[in-house]
């Protein structure tokens, strides 16, 4: 079953604008990761945030994690046309052997 639920379902912005995508999950986690997927391709790992972290940056990416609300957000600043893709959050639980559980993923379109 899919644990993470993202919103919005689809987002269309102009190049140079910022894009924010949100993700919610249901269980206790060890870490949360964001991935990008271009059409017809595999997923590319963007950033990982652990349950004891609240915010992390990587280049134009900023991810936050609120474990009390079981939610995360991914901010892409100064978007580019090349950022057009589907974005997925995935969570790793603390217990059991189950690997990453993915959500559905919003589609971001950046218009030049």
């Amino acid at each position: 079953s899919q644990q993470g639920e993202e919103d919005p379902q689809a987002l269309s912005i102009q190049e140079g604008e910022n894009a924010t995508m949100n993700c919610s999950y249901k269980t206790s986690i060890n870490n949360l990761q964001w991935y990008r997927q271009n059409s017809g391709r595999g997923l590319v790992h963007l950033i990982l945030i652990r349950s004891n972290e609240r915010e992390k940056h990587s280049g134009r990416l900023r991810v936050t994690l609120d474990t009390s609300k079981k939610s995360s957000s991914l901010l892409i600043t100064a978007s580019r046309a090349a950022d057009t893709a589907s974005y997925f959050c995935a969570t790793l639980r603390n217990s059991g052997n189950t690997p990453l559980v993915f959500g559905k993923g919003p589609r971001l379109s950046v218009i030049a």
Partner: protein, 118 residues
């Protein structure tokens, strides 16, 4: 190799046919994962190997699905008597982490095999 390689890239199978999908993980990566992705959806976990040991196969949808990694490197996902609902992209990923909770770099995914059952 430099990345995770999957073959074939596309596969069309007639209903009832058996198929085998191959995954070559990054050399030295201990963990290997199979996911199924339906159109417009996120990947759904199928099964997970650590070296040659299959640690979790709870996501395999039926006994028609079988995965192996006999020498701890290349893995094959086999689907017997394919059905139309098996049509999806099958993604393979690998990770260098032996302890899944120490995963620090995420998973490296292949480009997937798009299976269409007609």
């Amino acid at each position: 190799g430099a990345g995770v390689s999957q073959s074939p890239r596309y596969k069309v199978a007639k209903r009832g046919q058996d198929v085998a999908l191959r995954c070559d993980p990054i050399s030295g990566h201990v963990s290997l994962f199979w996911y199924q992705q339906a159109l417009g959806q996120g990947p759904e976990f199928l099964t997970y190997f650590q070296n040659e040991a299959q640690l979790d196969k709870s996501g395999l949808p039926s006994d028609r699905f079988f995965a192996e990694r006999p020498e701890g490197s290349v893995s094959t996902l086999k689907i017997q008597r394919t059905q139309q609902e098996d049509s999806a992209v099958y993604l393979c990923a690998s990770s260098q982490d032996r302890d899944r909770l120490l995963n620090s770099y995420g998973y490296t995914f292949g480009s997937g095999t798009r299976l269409t059952v007609v």
